[in-house]
């Protein structure tokens, strides 16, 4: 195939490189194009930055720096011809026009929406998105190519013939399904018509988020508590939902229809409408707005007793959505008051006003999305609870934007409180109490520690993804060495990091073959550079250290095994219990700003996990028949979760 101009080659031809590549997509899904009301804004365009000279050029597939689309349909035994995004005919018309009957459009849309989601994350995180490293099926890490670096996430737009789509952590792939609607679908679907999950903006954003989240927090896939699996789902839904507000046409239409209100269940607040309609469900697959208005009807008790991951996750999604709407209402309050004073009640809103409101909605959604994404650097490395995510959001936002005149943080805390999502052991739900403590509260002696001189981490700016990855790997090695050599000598580090480093650690904590001391995993050492709205510049190093401990359902057995008196085989355990710490280091002076811990020696937490594992949950039922799927090589944790 002829190589067309890219950033790397066009310089020779003398033409300027375009700023953006544009791809036509459905704003929502094909169903929205079947109704007069929504069809006008359902044809949308996603603009993606033209690839940089150092990035892989976009080519047939589409295949680029981050993603490769391979269209294989194994149930039918067919491949579908790939699209060439550089074909002049397509470049001249922003890619293929929306079409359900052309698989190349499916490839284009899945690629474009996934890339848009990636860009949203990169903007908020202040660094490049990397996929989780490849794990060798046979456990032999030495045989891995490039130490397990996976450049491209693969997208299979027609991988399954069922009403499902999922992210496969082992294959580093998104698998989308397609299916026929039932004989009695909802009001708007064609009975027996085809439904493609890869044409749903929401489903693509949701699955891409799973993959990105897995690249940041590899351990979040493990179902250690009810919240952990629910978090993956809830976060993916939140991202999909907030991305709705980037569709300007749709936002204007809905705001005009509802008199400037967003607290209405509509196209914007619901997820995957076509998917739901085809399965005969009324409304959306999932909703951002709770059933009851939380202002009048607190739903506090329901969260605590919700067991199903989606059901439980819905509380987090609703809390974030509620906070977003509150922020939008504050931002648009003045406009609405002016409108109320100058217009007859019941009259249509002026298009200019609608446009201004839509701008505020987009801004509020963008702020909210960034707060959520940034918070991912402020969560403990294992065993995340929703209450801790709240603390992470508050702290992350306060760090970057110290001044909070519109009271974003209060709106967030309030929305979580109304749904009964509370962190443990805090003084109050006031934003300043919700911030993570600084390490001096935990270990006064280490608060002013400038540890880098000893560790010698490399934090030089890098922008090539493989180099960033290599740099992080080297830093992990260095930190690991320092932990084993130096930190092990000072018990204060044990306390700060919530892990065991010395020889007298419980025998259930495995020993390193190299040092003979308790084994420690340095999960990530990543550099983030973030810019605040007023030019604030935050440079941080995010370090995650974890440790494993063999855990037993019976506390007496645990005590014996800890002492090394019984169950000494290093593979003998009822389950794996993890502890560790996320450390945030300010790169300006190398001080430790936060140490967010999950202590490996926390007996209360251990007992909670025992209870969870012996409880009657969906997961336990699967475990009965299929074994501990999530921890088995080759398992598809999200496939099972999504199949419900």
């Amino acid at each position: 195939m002829e190589q067309l101009p890219t950033a790397a080659t066009s310089g020779r031809a003398g033409y300027p490189v375009p700023a953006m590549r544009r791809f036509r997509v459905y704003a929502f899904d094909p169903l929205a194009s079947t109704s007069l009301e929504t069809a006008i804004f359902n044809d949308a365009v996603i603009s993606l930055p033209w690839e940089e000279a150092w990035e892989a050029p976009l080519s047939v597939g589409p295949s680029g720096e981050y993603l490769e689309v391979v269209d294989f349909d194994p149930a039918s035994g067919l491949f579908y011809a790939p699209i060439d995004p550089n074909d002049p005919l397509l470049l001249a018309q922003d890619g293929l026009p929306p079409s359900e009957g052309r698989p190349q459009f499916h490839q284009q849309m899945a690629y474009a929406v996934a890339m848009k989601t990636i860009h949203n994350f990169e903007r908020a995180l202040g660094r490049k998105v990397l996929w989780s490293p490849l794990k060798p099926a046979d456990g032999n890490y030495d045989a891995l190519v490039d130490d397990g670096y996976v450049q491209k996430l693969r997208i299979y737009p027609h991988a399954l013939r069922e009403d499902n789509a999922y992210y496969s952590p082992d294959k580093k792939a998104l698998l989308f399904g397609y299916f026929r609607a039932g004989d009695a679908p909802g009001a708007r679907s064609l009975p027996g018509g085809w439904v493609f999950t890869c044409l749903s903006h929401d489903v693509i954003a949701h699955e891409t988020t799973h993959a990105i989240l897995d690249g940041i927090h590899n351990r979040f896939i493990e179902a250690s508590t009810l919240d952990s699996l629910a978090f993956h789902e809830a976060f993916a839904d939140t991202v999909a939902l907030l991305q709705h507000f980037t569709m300007e046409g749709a936002v204007r239409h809905e705001l005009a229809a509802h008199g400037g209100q967003l607290r209405v269940r509509d196209l914007l607040s619901g997820l995957a409408k076509q998917f739901a309609d085809a399965r005969g469900m009324a409304g959306a697959l999932r909703e951002g707005i709770d059933v009851a208005d939380p202002k009048t009807d607190p739903v506090s008790g329901a969260y605590a007793s919700a067991i199903d991951p989606h059901e439980r996750g819905a509380f987090l999604v609703a809390a974030v959505f509620d906070a977003f709407v509150t922020i939008f209402e504050r931002r648009s309050g003045d406009l609405m008051r002016m409108f109320a004073n100058t217009t007859q009640p019941g009259a249509d809103m002026h298009p200019d006003l609608v446009a201004r409101l839509a701008g505020e909605a987009a801004k509020a959604a963008d702020h909210m999305l960034r707060i959520c994404v940034r918070a991912l650097d402020y969560v403990p490395p294992v065993d995340l609870r929703f209450g801790e995510f709240l603390r992470a959001m508050i702290t992350a936002d306060a760090d970057l934007v110290p001044d909070d005149p519109l009271r974003y943080r209060l709106a967030i805390a309030e929305a979580f409180r109304r749904r009964g999502i509370f962190p443990h052991s805090i003084a109050s739900m006031a934003p300043d109490s919700l911030m993570w403590e600084s390490p001096e509260i935990i270990e006064p002696g280490l608060s002013a520690c400038h540890f880098n001189p000893a560790v010698r981490l490399n934090v030089d700016p890098e922008w090539r993804r493989p180099k960033i990855w290599r740099q992080a790997l080297d830093n992990q090695q260095k930190l690991w060495g320092w932990l084993s050599r130096e930190a092990a000598k000072n018990p204060k580090w044990e306390s700060l990091l919530g892990i065991q480093l010395s020889a007298d650690a419980p025998q259930t904590i495995g020993r390193s073959q190299r040092t003979g001391l308790p084994a420690v995993e340095v999960h990530s050492v990543r550099v983030a550079r973030r810019a605040g709205p007023d030019g604030q510049d935050l440079r941080q190093l995010v370090i995650e250290v974890t440790q494993r401990r063999r855990a037993f359902l019976d506390p007496d057995v645990q005590a014996q095994a800890d002492r090394g008196e019984a169950r000494t085989d290093p593979t003998d355990m009822d389950f794996e219990f993890r502890g560790g710490c996320t450390m945030l280091v300010d790169l300006r002076d190398w001080t430790i700003r936060y140490a967010i811990r999950k202590n490996i020696m926390d007996d209360g937490r251990l007992q909670t996990q025992r209870d969870f594992r012996s409880g009657a949950t969906e997961d336990a039922l699967r475990a009965l028949y299929f074994g501990d799927q999530a921890n088995r090589p080759g398992a598809e944790p999200f496939a099972m979760l999504h199949r419900g």
């Binding site: 391979v70 039918s76 579908y80 399954l160 009657a616 419900g644």
Partner: protein, 497 residues
């Protein structure tokens, strides 16, 4: 329920007695109740089966069937078949010669309303279950074909489905006898003198000279209960789960059919966009070469050849728990008003439904029936649900209410067989439930894989000596008998039926 009149059985004067015989060494249920009074002896057989795919299962079931003939003299008053699962009915196939060859006479057969072919709701359930079963079987067959061709991931799919596939595919059922679960139930209906389909809330007398009162607790008629396998909070579950959860069967069948269609698979796209897998494997033009390089010659760990069959596991699981919830659950009451509870494989929804009615149902202004709370309180024999799995014994609304100090718990399980199932073994009996059962019964837990009063490792459970005195074990290890202490039995009515 009318009691069929029986030819008198000559018997020596016998004292009133109730004996529960559990056949051991089976991951499956087979219980024989022996009732004795001056009026004569009666026999109730509850289920007869062992899980598929277990070594020596067939021989074992023939031994069991022969023992039943010997113990009953070749006639049982009542056969209870709780639900159509292989581990509860396979014995009828393995020992077809005994059950259908005239060596054992079955006077009356009890089944749940779900097995009544004339019941419209049962027909609806059946159609859905059959379709799901077909889909799982089709997926398993396809996966096996793929696995034989060495396709990545296919073997894992087959392994996950092993335990759900009936005996037909394995060719294990005895030649000439019934081969599928459905055929077994049909054959039993033919063989029995009378058949009754029971409804939740009914209170009936067991047929025979020495009758027990029987409360019918489940299966429920309510779909919400029937399809509930697990406890959950909140009532908006329907947001995520549509009805019985078996809709996936349609997709799976469609997908399997797509790959096998003669005229090529039915796809949503025009043919000009499609490239057959075989052509891609050879390459030849730029598009074929690109696809070949991207997928066929790409890294093996990224391939998805068998992933589309993965949904079969979830479907099989759902079908399995739906079938478990159709379990006929009976609580037998002795004249002393003590209860023997046989929970079959009832899961959460079935258990919860016991609280939906009284026994018999209370009509407005009529006499108030007994509540299940009361029945559980008087339970002295509990046949644990589903071999002791975690979701077949309710805690607060189930086990915790069984506070009678004489409680004895039966668990028909072979832990080593259970652990050998699936990819990581089935967790039966579930440790927490076993522990609580041991506490409530003060060590009086009789399992299919241990000696009475002993844990699997031989440790003593500290079982009350008085209870152990009522337990008799077959020296050959085929069964264990528990003869209820006289105060728990009381006095049967003196007159003959």
């Amino acid at each position: 329920m009318s009691v069929a009149s029986e030819p008198p059985i000559p018997a020596a004067p016998i004292s009133d007695a109730v004996t529960v015989r559990m056949y051991k060494g089976l991951l499956g249920d087979c219980f024989l109740l022996q009732l004795a009074s001056a009026a004569g002896r009666s026999f109730i057989l509850i289920d007869c089966g062992v899980l598929q795919g277990i070594q020596g299962a067939s021989d074992r079931m023939v031994q069991v069937a022969n023992d039943i003939v010997a113990a009953t003299g070749g006639r049982i008053d009542l056969l209870v078949v709780t639900h159509e699962h292989w581990d509860h009915i396979s014995g009828f196939a393995h020992a077809a010669e005994v059950f259908f060859g005239g060596r054992l006479k079955i006077d009356t057969l009890w089944m749940a309303w779900t097995e009544n072919d004339a019941d419209p709701q049962a027909q609806g359930l059946r159609a859905r279950f059959d379709r799901a079963k077909m889909a799982v079987a089709a997926a398993a067959t396809t996966a096996a074909h793929l696995a034989a061709r060495g396709v990545t991931g296919a073997a894992e799919v087959t392994a996950g489905l092993e335990a759900f596939i009936g005996p037909v595919e394995r060719g294990l059922a005895a030649a000439g006898g019934p081969r599928t679960g459905r055929q077994i139930l049909q054959a039993l209906k033919q063989a029995a003198g009378a058949v009754a389909y029971l409804e939740p809330g009914q209170v009936v007398a067991t047929p025979g000279a020495t009758p027990l009162k029987a409360y019918v607790l489940g299966p429920p008629r309510s779909a919400a209960r029937l399809f509930k396998a697990l406890p959950s909070a909140g009532d908006n579950k329907e947001t995520y789960l549509a009805g019985d959860g078996l809709d996936h069967a349609d997709h799976l069948l469609g997908a399997v059919a797509a790959g096998e269609a003669e005229a090529g698979p039915e796809t949503p796209f025009p043919r000009r966009y499609e490239y057959a897998q075989e052509d891609v494997a050879h390459g030849g033009d730029p598009t074929l070469d690109w696809l070949k390089a991207a997928y066929v010659d790409g890294p093996a760990w990224r391939r998805i050849d068998a992933d589309w069959l993965g949904g079969a596991g979830a479907l099989a699981l759902k079908l399995d728990s739906n079938t478990n919830n159709t379990s006929l659950v009976l609580a037998f009451e002795t004249p002393a008003k003590k209860v023997l509870l046989f929970a079959a494989d009832a899961q959460v929804g079935n258990w919860l439904s016991w609280y939906d009615q009284t026994y018999p149902p209370t009509a407005l202004g009529g006499p108030v029936g007994v509540g299940v709370e009361d029945i559980l309180l008087r339970t002295v024999v509990y046949k644990m649900g589903h071999h002791g799995s975690h979701n077949a014994t309710l805690d607060a609304q189930g086990l915790e209410r069984m506070t009678d100090p004489s409680l004895v718990v039966f668990i028909p399980v072979v832990e080593t067989d259970a652990r050998a199932q699936g990819t990581a073994g089935w967790n039966m009996p579930f440790p927490d439930i076993l522990k609580r059962a041991l506490e409530l019964s003060k060590g009086a837990v009789l399992r299919g894989d241990t000696h009475a009063g002993r844990a699997p490792d031989g440790r003593s459970l500290g079982t009350d000596a008085a209870i152990l005195a009522c337990v008799g074990e077959d020296p050959a290890g085929l069964f264990v008998d528990y003869r209820l202490p006289a105060p728990l039995v009381g006095a049967f009515a003196a007159t003959k039926a």
